[in-house]
Amino acid sequence: MGFGIGVSSPGMGPRGIIEQFSGGDNQRGAAFNRRVVVRLLAYLKPYKRPMLLACLAMLVVSGLTLLTPYLLKEAVDQYISQGDRAGLAHISLLTAAAFAGLYLATAGQQYLLAWVGQRVLANLRSALFRHLQQLSLGYHDTHIVGVTVSRVMNDVATINELLSQGIITLLGDTLILVGIVVIMLTMSPRLALLTFIVLPLMLGVTMWFSSRARVAFRETRTRVARVVGDLAEDIAGVRVIQAFGQEDSTQERFTQVNEANRDAHINAMTLSFIFLPAIEFLGVLSTAIVLWFGGRAVAADEITLGVLVAFLSYVTRFFQPVQELSRLYTTMQSAMAGGEQVLKLLDSPPEVQDQPEAGEMPQISGRVSLDHVSFRYRPDLPEVLHDVNLMIEPGQTVALVGPTGAGKTSIGNLIARFYDVSAGMVAIDGIDVRTVTQQSLHRQIGLVPQDSFLFSGSIAENIRFGRPQASDAEVEEAARLANAHDFIIAKPDGYQTRVLEGAANLSVGQRQLVCIARAILTNPRILILDEATSNVDSMTESLIQGALRKLLQGRTAVVIAHRLSTIRSADLICVVQDGQIVEQGNHDELLERGGAYRALYQRQFSG
C-alpha cells in the first residue's frame, strides 16, 4: 500500500530488494574497463580449444554470409541473362551447398559458444559460492541476502552474455560489415558510397533511441517494483487493513501505482513504435537509393543487372550488424558494471582469517576466558563491549541476562570467533582462539540460534547438518534426546518430512526441538544457546526444557537467557548492561545483593 512512499522513499520494504532484482541493466558503467575485461577473460582460458573452434566457425559463417549474394549476382549475370540452363543448375547447387555449410557452421558456433558460456557461468558461480563460505559473519551483517544472491545469479549471467556471445558477435559482425563494405566498393564504388549515406542516419537514430529507451525502460522497472512493493504491503498488512476498514483507501493507492506502471510501459513501448518504422524507413531508403542510382547505372550499362540484384541483397544484410553492434554496446556497459561488482565480492577479504601458522584446536575441555575484551562490529561503529572479563570453568552453564542490545549476543559471537576482538583476548583452555583454525574450533562448538533457523530439506537432513555422515540410528538417538522423536514420527513422512518456510508445517516449538537435536548430534564441547523468546504452549515448553537440560549436561554452555528456569539453574549469571558485565554470581547471591539483577528479576519475572 505504501502511502506517501511514492513521494519520499521509493525503495522501502520489499522494494529495495525487488529493485535490485528487476534491475536488469540498472547498473551501468563505462562500456570498457580494462581491469575487469582482463580478469574476466582469464575465465575463458581453460576453454581455448572450443573458443578457437567457435572463431573458426564464425569465420566460415561470415564468409558464407558474404558469398551468397555474390552467387546470386553470378546466377543473374552469367547464367540467367545468358540463357545457360546447365550453368544455372550448377550455381544453384553451389548456393545450396553454401547454405548447408552456413547451417553447419552457425549451429556449431552457437553450440560451442553456449557451452563455453554456461561452463564459465557455472565456474564463476562456484568461485563466488566458495568465497562466500570463507567470508566472516561481518560480511553477512552488512549485506542484504537478496543483493548477494543477485550478484551470484544475475550479475554473473550478464558477464557471461558478454564473454561468450559478445566477443564473437563483435568479431563476426565487424568482419561481415567490413566484408560488405569492401565487396560493395569493389563491385561499384559510386553506388556503394551512395548507399553509405544512410549509415550515419541509422547510427544517429539508433543512438537517439537507445538513450531514450534506457531512461524509459528503467522507469518501467521502477514502476513495476512499486506495484510489487505496494501489493506486498497490502498482503502483509491485510489483517490490519481489514481490522481498520481501510480497504478502499488501499485500493485507491494501488490504483495510482498501477496506473503509473501502465503509463510507463505504454510510453516505453511507444518509443519502440517510433524506432522500428524509422529503421525500416532507412532500410527502404537505402534500397531506393540502390534501385534508383543502380537502375540508372544499369540502363547506362555502367553496371550489370546482377550487380544491382546483389547490391539489393547486400544492403539488407548491411544493417543487421550495425544494429547488433549497438545492442552489444549496451550489453557491455551492464556487463562491466556487473563484472565490477562480482570482482569486488571475489576480492573482499574475510575479516576473520586463519593465521598462516594456525594449528588445530586440540580436544576442548571447556574453560573459556574473556580477558579485557573490547569489541566493535566495524571500525566506524561504536564499541559494543568494553573491557569485559569473564571466566567460565569446564562444564559450567553461564546465563547472560540484560536488556536488548546490551551485548549478550556479541559475547557469544566472540567465543565462537565469528568476529575478532578489537582489544583483549578470548581464550579456550588457555589457547587464544585466533591462533587456531576456525574449522577446528567450530567443529567443537554447537549453536542453537534464537530464530531456530532450519534449511529447506528434510528433518533428517537438518538434524544431520553438522555431521552429514551420521547414521539413521544416530539421528534418531539425537532426536530422542531432544524430545523431538515423537512429534517427528507422528508426521506422515516421519524423518523425511520437508521443512517448509515459515512455520507452515513445523511449529515454532518443534523447530526449536529440531535445532536442539542438530546440536546434540555434533556432541560439541562448548554450546552457545540463544534462547528463543516466542511463546510456546506449556506442554512443548516442558519438552524444550527437558531437552535443554540434557544438551547442557557435561558441556560448557553460554546461554543468552530469557527463561527464569534456565537462569535459576545456571552456575553463573552475568548481567550485561551497556557492553559491560555489571554483576556476576548465582541467582541467590545476586538477589541478595539487591542490584541490577534484582531489579531486572522483579520487573521481568514477578508479573
Binding site: 500500500m1 519520499s8 522513499s9 522501502m12 547464367y79 540467367i80 540463357g83 545457360d84 544455372l88 547454405f99 548447408a100 552456413l102 547451417y103 549451429a107 552457437q110 553456449a114 557451452w115 554456461q118 559460492f129 563460505q133 553477512h140 545469479m153 506495484v227 501489493l231 497490502d234 498482503i235 502483509a236 491485510v238 489483517r239 481489514q242 481490522a243 481498520f244 476498514g245 480497504e247 485500493q251 498501477n258 501502465r262 511507444t270 513504435f273 518504422p277 531506393a288 534501385l291 534508383w292 537502375g295 540508372r296 544499369v298 540502363a299 544491382l308 536488548t404 565469528f418 567450530h442 562448538i445 533457523f453 529447506s456 504452549d537 506449556s538 512443548t540 520487573r603 521481568q604 508479573g607
Partner: protein, 603 residues
C-alpha cells in the same frame, strides 16, 4: 497457492478455450482501440504485398537503356516505395501503440481487480495463501495475459493473414513456382513444433533447476551462522556444486537443441529460395517469367516464412497464458467467506433506530467454529462481556483464544451460534461499521512502510496532531518517537529507522487507540520484547483498558488478576470462567497455568 480453501473454490473446471475466451473478454471495454489496431494491421499487410511488386516492376521497366520513360518508371517506383514505407510506418506506429494501450489496460484492470479481491478476502483465505504466490499471480501471471491479449494475439492473426495473402499472391503470379515455394511451409511447421515439444519441457526443468541453485545460495547466506558453527562450509560447497553441475548439464543439452533450431529454420527457407532461383531462373530463360518477377518472388518468399518463427515462439506462450489465467481467475472467483447481507444497515444507524448508542456489550451464544471440514476449533462458547469490562482469555496454545477474539470483528464467521453487540447480531450490519467500533492490536505487529504518523493515523487519516500525540502518549510511544530524528515524520522500514519489537507494538497500540474504539482487542501484545519495554507496554495497556470493553489474551498475572472476567479455554471449550480468586480454587487448569506460566512471567 496450492490450498485455497476447498469450500470457496469454483467447482467446475473450465476448458482452456473457455479460459482464453474469458481473457479476451477483458478487451471488450477497449474494443474501439483494438479494432483500430487490427484495421491498421490489414493496411500494413496490404503495403507488404505491394512492395515486392514495385521492386520487380522497377527492374523490368526502369532499366531500359534508352529512354526517359524508363527513368520515369524508375523514379515512379522508387518514389512509390518511399511513400509506401512512410505510410506503413504511420500504420505501424498506431497499430503498435493501440495494441499496447489495449493490452496494458487489460493488465491494469486485472491487477486492480486482483488487489481489490485480495484485500477483501477473509482471514481464512490469507491463512492458507502465501504472499509470494499472490504476488507472482498479480505480477507475472497478469503479464502473460497482457502478452496474450496484446502482441501474441496480434502476431498470430497478423502472421496467419500475411502468410495466407502472400501464398495467394505467389500462386496467382505463377502457380507452379508458387506451389514450390509453399513446400517449405510444412517443413518449417514440423521443425518448429518438434523443437518446441522437446525444448519446452526441458526449459521448464532448467528454470526449476536454476531456482534450486538460487535457493541453495539464499539458504546458505541466511543460515551463514549455522553453517559456520557447524563447520559445514565444505559440505555446503559440495551440495552447491552438485546442483550447479546439474544445471550446467541441462543447459548444455538445451544449448545443443537451440543451436540447431534457428539455423535449421533458416536452412529450410534458404534452400527453398534456391529452388526458386533455379526453377524461376529457368522460367526467366524460357521467357515465361521476367527477372523483376523473380526478384519479387524471392522477396515474397522471405515474407512467407518469417511468421512461422514467431508462431513457433507464440504457441507455447498461449498455453502458458492459459495456465496463468487459470491461476488468476481462481483468486477472482473465490467468494469471501465473510460477506455482508445485501442492504445491511450501518451499526450505529441500526442502534439509532432504536434510540441507542453503542455501549460495547458483547455476547457469545453457543458459538462453534471450524475451518472448512476440519475438526472444530471452538465448541459451545457462551459468555457475556458487559460494557467496559476487561475480559482475559487464558489457555494453552491452540486452545482457541485467538479464534474467539477474531470472531468479534467478523474476521471469521461462526459455524454455529451467534454473536451480538448491544443485542444486534453482528452479521446483520455492515462490516466496516462493525469494525469501526473495534480496535485491535494483533498478535503479529504489522507496520507499513510510511512515516510513524501515517502508521498511527492508519485507521483515521484525518486525525489532528493533538489527537495523534494523545494516542501515542497513552501507548507510551510519544517519548521514543520524539527521540527519533524526524519525530512523527520518521519513516518506518528499511529506508527509515528500524524499530524494536516493543516500539512497533506501542505504535500499533497507538494506532488502535486513535480510533477511540468501544471495544479493544489485545492479542498477545507483549511477546518477544525485553523486560524494560514490557514494563512500558504494561503501563500503556493499564491505561487504555479503562472505559472500554477490552478483550485481552494475557500472559501477565497483573492483567489477569484485575480482569472482570477470566475465560479459561482448553481444546476449544470454555472450561472455567470467573474472577481470579474464584478460579484459583475452582479450576485445576487455571491453577496449573497460574503456577506454570503466570508466575514465571514469560510463557
Amino acid at each position: 497457492m496450492q490450498r485455497i480453501s476447498s469450500e470457496n473454490r469454483p467447482s467446475t473446471s473450465p476448458s482452456q478455450a473457455q479460459i482464453l475466451w474469458r481473457c479476451f473478454g477483458y478487451l471488450r471495454p477497449h474494443w474501439k482501440i483494438t479494432a483500430g489496431a487490427y484495421l491498421m494491421m490489414v493496411l500494413i499487410d496490404a503495403v507488404a504485398m505491394i512492395n515486392p511488386q514495385l521492386i520487380g516492376w522497377a527492374i523490368d521497366h526502369g532499366l531500359e537503356a534508352d529512354s526517359a520513360s524508363s527513368t520515369g518508371s524508375l523514379t515512379l517506383a522508387v518514389g512509390a516505395l518511399l511513400v509506401l514505407v512512410l505510410v506503413k510506418g504511420l500504420f505501424t506506429y498506431f497499430q503498435g501503440r493501440w495494441t499496447e494501450v489495449a493490452s496494458q489496460n487489460v493488465a491494469y484492470d486485472l491487477r486492480n481487480e486482483l488487489q481489490r479481491k485480495i484485500t477483501q478476502l477473509s482471514f481464512s483465505f490469507h491463512d492458507q495463501s502465501e504472499a509470494g504466490d499472490l504476488l507472482s499471480r498479480t505480477i507475472q501471471d497478469v503479464e502473460r495475459i497482457r502478452f496474450l491479449t496484446g502482441r501474441a494475439m496480434f502476431r498470430v492473426i497478423e502472421g496467419s493473414l500475411l502468410m495466407l495473402v502472400t501464398a495467394v499472391v505467389m500462386i496467382v503470379m505463377n502457380p507452379l513456382l508458387g506451389l514450390m515455394a509453399l513446400l517449405a511451409l510444412p517443413l518449417l511447421v514440423v521443425q518448429s513444433i518438434s523443437f518446441g515439444r522437446v525444448f519446452r519441457p526441458l526449459s521448464v526443468v532448467i528454470q526449476k533447476q536454476l531456482a534450486t541453485v538460487t535457493t541453495r545460495v539464499e539458504q546458505n547466506l541466511r543460515g551463514a551462522r549455522v553453517v559456520k558453527t557447524f563447520a559445514q562450509e565444505e559440505a555446503e560447497i559440495e551440495r552447491f556444486e552438485a546442483e550447479n553441475r546439474r544445471w550446467f548439464d541441462l543447459s548444455a543439452t538445451a544449448a545443443r537443441l537451440q543451436a540447431v533450431n534457428m539455423p535449421r529454420l533458416h536452412l529450410i527457407a534458404n534452400l527453398s529460395s534456391v529452388v526458386i532461383l533455379w526453377y524461376g531462373g529457368t522460367l526467366v530463360i524460357n521467357g515465361q517469367l521476367t527477372l523483376g518477377e523473380l526478384v519479387a518472388f524471392t522477396t515474397y518468399m522471405a515474407q512467407l516464412v518469417s511468421p512461422v518463427r514467431f508462431l513457433g515462439m507464440i504457441l507455447p506462450a498461449i498455453s502458458m497464458a492459459a495456465a496463468s489465467a487459470e491461476r488468476i481467475f481462481e483468486i477472482l472467483d473465490t467468494v469471501p467467506e465473510v460477506h455482508e447481507e445485501p442492504g445491511a444497515p450501518e451499526l450505529l444507524e441500526r442502534l439509532a433506530a432504536e434510540k441507542r448508542v453503542c455501549r460495547g456489550h458483547i455476547r457469545f451464544e453457543n458459538v462453534a467454529f471450524s475451518y472448512g471440514r476440519h475438526a472444530s476449533i471452538l465448541k459451545d462458547i457462551t459468555f457475556d462481556a458487559l460494557p467496559d469490562q476487561v475480559v482475559a482469555l487464558l489457555g494453552p496454545t491452540g486452545s482457541g483464544k485467538t479464534t474467539v477474539v477474531n470472531l468479534i470483528p467478523r474476521f471469521y464467521d461462526p459455524s454455529a451460534g451467534r454473536i451480538t453487540l448491544d443485542g444486534v447480531d453482528i452479521r446483520e450490519v455492515t462490516l466496516n461499521s462493525l469494525r469501526a467500533q473495534i480496535g485491535i492490536v494483533l498478535q503479529e505487529t504489522t507496520l507499513f512502510a510510511a512515516s510513524i504518523r501515517e502508521n498511527i493515523t492508519f485507521g483515521r487519516p484525518d486525525a489532528t496532531q493533538e489527537e495523534i500525540e494523545a494516542a501515542a502518549r497513552d501507548a507510551q510511544a510519544h517519548e521514543f518517537i520524539l527521540q527519533t530524528q524526524k519525530g512523527y515524520d520518521t519513516p518506518v522500514g528499511e529506508r527509515g529507522i528500524t524499530l524494536s519489537g516493543g516500539q512497533k507494538q506501542r505504535i500499533a497500540i497507538a494506532r488502535a487507540l486513535l480510533t477511540d474504539p468501544r471495544i479493544l482487542i489485545l492479542d498477545d501484545a507483549t511477546s518477544s520484547v525485553d523486560s524494560e519495554t514490557e514494563h512500558l507496554i504494561q503501563l500503556a495497556l493499564e491505561r487504555v483498558m479503562q472505559a472500554r470493553t477490552t478483550f485481552v489474551i494475557a500472559h501477565r498475572l497483573s492483567t489477569v488478576q484485575r480482569a472482570d472476567l477470566i475465560l479459561v479455554l482448553d481444546k476449544g471449550r470454555i472450561v472455567a470462567s470467573g474472577k481470579h480468586a474464584d478460579l484459583l480454587t475452582a479450576s485445576p487448569l487455571y491453577q496449573n497455568i497460574y503456577n506454570q506460566q503466570l508466575k514465571r512471567g514469560k510463557g
